[in-house]
């Protein structure tokens, strides 16, 4: 697999809209594995993950025309995949994992190398520290809305609270974080 693709993802999606199954396969080669990985981190049932990835690409095949070419294909696919998983597991709340935010000593925590920490820190900076200090009910909201890209309404449904509660908590979480940061980070808007 070439690491410098000649064809852009958006062009592949356009080809899929035209009925090119080879383009679908190529998109799967590029994004399928990462979708698996991200989903399995949130759901401990591997069968569900396989089905969701399958549904996502079949949905891509059927709705490729709807892609509005205004963002990354990967992000668009994630939006489809995560929403599908959430609705599928709505009745099985136990299987959906909201990643554990506390650094628990019982887990086999291996910290990334110093260099990786520094470079990852460039992405988030003090944000990481601020996130760690968030109260628990704020964390789940931040995870759902900011990191996973759900709307406040969808997050409400996932977490079992009203949409207004989500909005309030999000607002308060941002306020808490702002208090610990010097400047807003990219990725929050």
């Amino acid at each position: 697999m070439s690491s410098t693709p000649i064809v852009t993802d958006a062009a592949l999606v356009a080809a899929v809209a035209d009925g090119d199954a080879g383009a679908l396969r190529e998109l799967y080669e590029r994004h399928g594995a990462w979708l698996h990985a991200r989903l399995i981190r949130r759901c401990n049932d591997p069968e569900v993950v396989v089905e969701v990835v399958q549904d996502t690409f079949v949905a891509l095949w059927k709705d490729a025309r709807r892609f509005r070419h205004d963002g990354e294909v990967g992000a668009w696919l994630w939006g489809i995949a995560f929403r599908r998983m959430v609705s599928r597991l709505r009745s099985r709340r136990d299987v959906v994992l909201i990643p554990e935010w506390d650094v628990s000593p019982t887990l086999q925590q291996v910290m990334p190398s110093a260099e990786d920490q520094v470079l990852l820190g460039v992405e988030y900076g003090d944000l990481a520290a601020g996130l760690r200090r968030l109260s628990p009910e704020f964390r789940s909201v931040v995870q759902a809305v900011v990191l996973d890209g759900l709307t406040t309404k969808e997050a409400g449904r996932l977490l079992g609270v009203r949409e207004n509660t989500v909005k309030t908590r999000l607002h308060r979480a941002k306020a808490q974080l702002r208090a610990t940061l010097t400047e807003p980070q990219e990725g929050w808007r």
Binding site: A33, W34, A37, R41, W61, A75, L119, L120, E123
Partner: protein, 277 residues
């Protein structure tokens, strides 16, 4: 502030830890934010996952893409135990699609409503519609014009006659039970609820027999006109239930037997290639 990471890629060890779930949430979130925007790292993840898993998922995608989803009634039937090859054959029949069945259900419902609202005097719509629904459904399910694969069906081992009978049964199974239920809501003597079955089960073989000679469309037209004539003609001078009274049922039975005989003889002479139902 993220420009520095454009040349940076997560090393495979870090990604392995991510995959194993050994990163805390915040570090994991950082990794996610990066990899989501980096095709090189996505490729690395692809190499770290088991190829069989990815292939297995792809096989499912390919399946979903190659075969359009069968119509809803078919999916229900499959869950009830219908064999898979039969489902493939039935799925393409127009009158087994949800749209057609909904249309049939609606027409029958209106006819039932008319009978109910008129307290049993306006039975004609129901007596007209109930037997014709399966007849039209069967006619819609086959024929050289409706079935573009006619030439292939005629020369395939499965057999055209068998396919027509399969579709007929499919239509009857999907239409008759609902009509029986609606019949119970029609006011009048208790035997009325099922009396329409007599003409229904007679007109279908008559349709098939006629269709063997003149094709399904003409046959359907003839049968519909004839039955309409009987029902509507009888409303002038006779009781509303006349078309389905005992004497008439006997006639229908005779017609059904005759039609079945014609079909049997015709199917029997199917040995001559090209001559079929």
């Amino acid at each position: 502030m993220t420009t520095g990471t454009e040349e940076w890629h997560a090393d495979p060890a870090l990604l392995s830890r991510y995959l194993a779930g050994n990163l805390d949430a915040v570090t994991g979130a950082s990794v996610e934010q990066h990899v989501s925007r980096c095709e090189t790292c996505r490729a690395t993840v692809g190499r770290l996952l088991e190829p069989q898993l990815l292939e297995r998922t792809w096989a499912g995608i390919r399946d979903g893409v190659e075969r359009p989803t069968p119509p809803y009634p078919m999916r229900v039937a499959r869950r009830l135990g219908l064999p898979e090859p039969t489902a493939v054959l039935l799925a393409s029949a127009a009158s087994l699609r949800a749209a057609w069945l909904v249309g049939a259900f609606l027409s029958l419902s209106f006819a039932t409503l008319a009978a109910y609202a008129s307290d049993g005097t306006a039975l004609a719509p129901f007596l007209l519609a109930a037997p014709l629904a399966p007849v039209l459904g069967v006619a819609a399910a086959y024929g050289p014009r409706q079935d573009p694969l006619e030439a292939l069906v005629a020369t395939a081992p499965y057999g055209r006659t068998r396919l027509i009978l399969l579709r007929t049964i499919g239509v009857l199974v999907s239409v008759l039970p609902v009509t029986v239920l609606l019949g119970l809501a029609v006011p009048g003597p208790p035997w009325l609820a099922a009396a329409w079955l007599g003409p229904a089960l007679a007109l279908v073989p008559v349709l098939l027999a006629l269709a063997a000679f003149v094709g399904p469309r003409i046959a359907a037209t003839i049968v519909s006109l004839a039955w309409s004539g009987v029902v509507l003609g009888s409303t002038r001078a006779l009781a509303p239930t006349w078309p389905v009274e005992a004497a008439q049922q006997g006639v229908y039975l005779g017609l059904a037997v005759a039609a079945c005989a014609v079909i049997a003889i015709r199917a029997g002479t199917d040995r001559q290639p090209g001559v079929a139902l």
